[in-house]
């Protein structure tokens, strides 16, 4: 981006640290720019306080986190998917979150445009939750034409908003003496950190505007779901071998389905609950020790099998295929016992 942005009269500034980067991104957004920053693991931890500031001040921005092994320095440059909950709950206080996860180079482009639109539409920071595996991919990429993009206009009103809680964004520099603060504030932007009602109204609104628009935000991909006994739930890098494993299992006559989360937050709990009523087992391959599986478990009563892999190496098709086969065998053996 440092090479490309100046050619289109954009600006790229490398800051002294990730705290400075996200701060400048939010400042630039308030000044009128579409903004983003990118980091990995430790830098994402550093950004968390100001991500909360962007939520509280309803400032759109996109934060790319190319997940790597952690905690701390962990395995630098080695891929992981272990920041799912950090993306959701990394900043303190009550809040919602929007996070999307691509699983191809093409999606890195397409979903990024969607991230910008979501952040503008809902006036909320959006986390682009990549992983190191996708971050290092080289694949064919077709850029959309600029005139084909449907971009949400800054300061625009969203007719599709189902909450009625989002006000068009105002920018600096127009003589309005706008007051923006990360403190609890009244509707006119002025600080009020004393009144219980003001805080409750503000925070409820900030959460409800995301919560009530879940259907407009949540995206997922389903394949082979109609007659599935078992489904494999995954996202990002893990979803690629997951699809390979599902196809191989289908070739062997195993009734297995494929479910890929594109939107990680808000979580597609409603859909997961529906699926949980139809299948007997849910497998969750992910490059962490069960962060997504834990979320799936909150919505289903069938067994959720963790297919975790950590250490900087992605699942192979074999890894996930064997876990599908094992889950079938386990079920048969428990049926015999039963």
């Amino acid at each position: 981006m440092s090479r490309e942005l100046p050619k289109v009269n954009g600006f790229y500034v490398q800051f002294e640290d990730e705290i400075g980067s996200i701060a400048a991104v939010i400042g630039a957004a308030r000044a009128g720019a579409i903004t983003m920053t990118a980091t990995s693991g430790p830098g994402f931890s550093l950004m968390q306080e100001n991500i909360g500031y962007a939520i509280m001040t309803e400032t759109p921005c996109v934060v790319v986190n190319v997940q790597r092994s952690g905690p701390s320095t962990g395995q630098a440059t080695k891929p992981a998917q272990s920041d799912i909950l950090a993306a959701r709950w990394g900043t303190h206080g009550d809040h919602e979150m929007i996070a999307l996860a691509p699983n191809s180079v093409q999606e890195c482009c397409d979903l990024m445009i969607e991230c910008v639109n979501l952040s503008e539409r809902y006036r909320h920071p959006v986390i682009f939750l990549m992983d190191g595996e996708i971050g290092h991919l080289r694949e064919k990429l077709v850029f959309p034409m600029l005139e084909d993009l449907d971009l949400f206009p800054r300061g625009g009103f969203d007719p599709a908003d189902e909450s009625g809680l989002i006000k068009p964004m105002r920018e600096f520099g127009h003589g309005e003496a706008i007051h923006i603060t990360g403190s609890t504030h009244k509707e006119n932007g002025m600080r009020d950190v004393v009144s219980q009602e003001v805080h409750e109204n503000l925070i409820s609104r900030l959460c409800d505007k995301i919560d009530r628009n879940q259907d407009n935000i949540i995206r997922y991909e389903e394949r082979f779901m109609v007659d599935a006994d078992v489904i494999v739930v995954s996202f990002g890098a893990a979803s690629r071998p997951a699809l390979g494993a599902v196809i191989r299992a289908r070739d062997k006559g195993i009734k297995v389905g494929y479910f890929r989360l594109i939107t990680i937050w808000p979580f597609c709990g409603e859909r997961m609950a529906e699926i949980g009523k139809r299948v007997r087992t849910i497998l969750v391959p992910e490059m962490n020790l069960g962060q997504l599986a834990r979320e799936v478990e909150r919505f289903v009563s069938v067994p959720v099998v963790r297919v975790s892999k950590i250490g900087g190496i992605a699942h192979s098709v074999e890894d996930i295929y064997m876990s599908i086969v094992n889950s079938m065998e386990n079920r048969q053996s428990s049926a015999i016992r039963g």
Binding site: P6, K7, V8, N9, G10, F11, V13, F15, E16, D17, I19, G20, S21, A23, A24, V25, I26, G27, A28, A29, R30, A31, G32, A33, T35, E49, N50, Y53, L146, F172, G173, H174, G175, E176, A177, I178, H179, I180, T181, G182, S183, M190, R191
Partner: protein
């Protein structure tokens, strides 16, 4: 017609009076800044104020009637840099304290000075984290008693104006709230200066700092500032020992390196001219 003070139009009158403690220097700084705006005939529409956390950040926010970004602790200068990159014609002003700018945000401060980004930065140094109850700050004098150094401060303070000067700012000065007219003059110079322009304003906190070091009210501080201040010119001929406990006041640096966002725009002019059409 009812008489209205000439500076009231620069303030959010509906919120006055301010919440600052009796004897605090923050009111003087607000007064000086409104005077500087008035003297320069600056329309508030052209000012964007960015602040952090602490008493000094409450000087412009909410009292100054202009676009205001009240940010997280220590990060005002980084936020302000983002604002300035996008709105280079606005006067982007940071008024914040020693804990904010020299402590938690010290890294952003020196790097913004190094970049020479066109911000007007006023560091109100009252030697203490006042709002939170008087904890030691990076500018608290050696030996001072505070709530977190109850037996005396074992750390040496930053001479923060010198730090900013060394980092490369285009304008650096230091004054105390005793020198209120000098502050107004310095503020006017800063608001007209291209590049990173910085004034350290030594200020008083009788409530959270002064009462623990024998300076119980604003007047005691004024007398102390008057007695302790030494001009930059005079300080040049003084030894380190002679300068012990003194406050060196005046302009430390003025130079004309190219402002950061101007350099960025110059690069963009080159790149957009050479770029293939998209």
């Amino acid at each position: 017609m009812e008489h209205q003070h000439k500076l009231l139009k620069y303030l959010r009158q509906e919120i006055l009076p301010t919440t600052h403690c009796p004897g605090c220097g923050c009111g003087q700084v607000l007064n000086a800044f409104a005077n500087a705006m008035h003297d320069l005939q600056i329309d508030p529409v052209n000012i964007i104020s960015v602040t952090g956390i602490g008493c000094s950040s409450w000087i412009p926010s909410p009292y100054l009637k202009c676009d205001t970004l009240h940010t997280t602790h220590g990060r005002a200068v980084a936020f302000a840099t983002g604002v300035k990159v996008i709105r280079p014609k606005s006067k982007v002003v940071v008024i914040a304290g020693d804990g904010d700018l020299a402590g938690i945000g010290g890294n952003h401060l020196v790097h913004a000075a190094r970049r020479n980004v066109g911000l007007s930065v006023f560091l109100v140094n009252n030697y203490i984290y006042g709002m939170t109850g008087g904890q030691v700050s990076p500018t608290t004098p050696f030996g001072a008693v505070t709530t977190t150094t109850p037996y005396s401060n074992a750390e040496y303070p930053f001479r923060i104006a010198e730090v900013v000067a060394a980092a490369g700012a285009n304008y650096v000065a230091r004054w105390t709230t005793y020198h209120i007219r000098k502050i107004i003059t310095a503020m006017k110079e800063v608001l007209q200066k291209k590049g990173f322009a910085f004034v350290e304003i030594i200020s008083q906190c009788p409530v959270s700092y002064g009462r623990r070091v024998g300076l119980r009210d604003g007047v005691a501080f004024m007398k102390y500032f008057k007695k302790s201040s030494v001009s930059v010119a005079k300080a040049k001929d003084m030894s380190e020992e002679e300068l012990e406990g003194k406050i060196v006041v005046g302009k430390l640096v003025e130079r004309d390196r190219t402002e950061f966002t101007e350099s960025l725009r110059e690069i963009n002019v080159r790149c957009t001219a050479n770029a293939e059409p998209i």
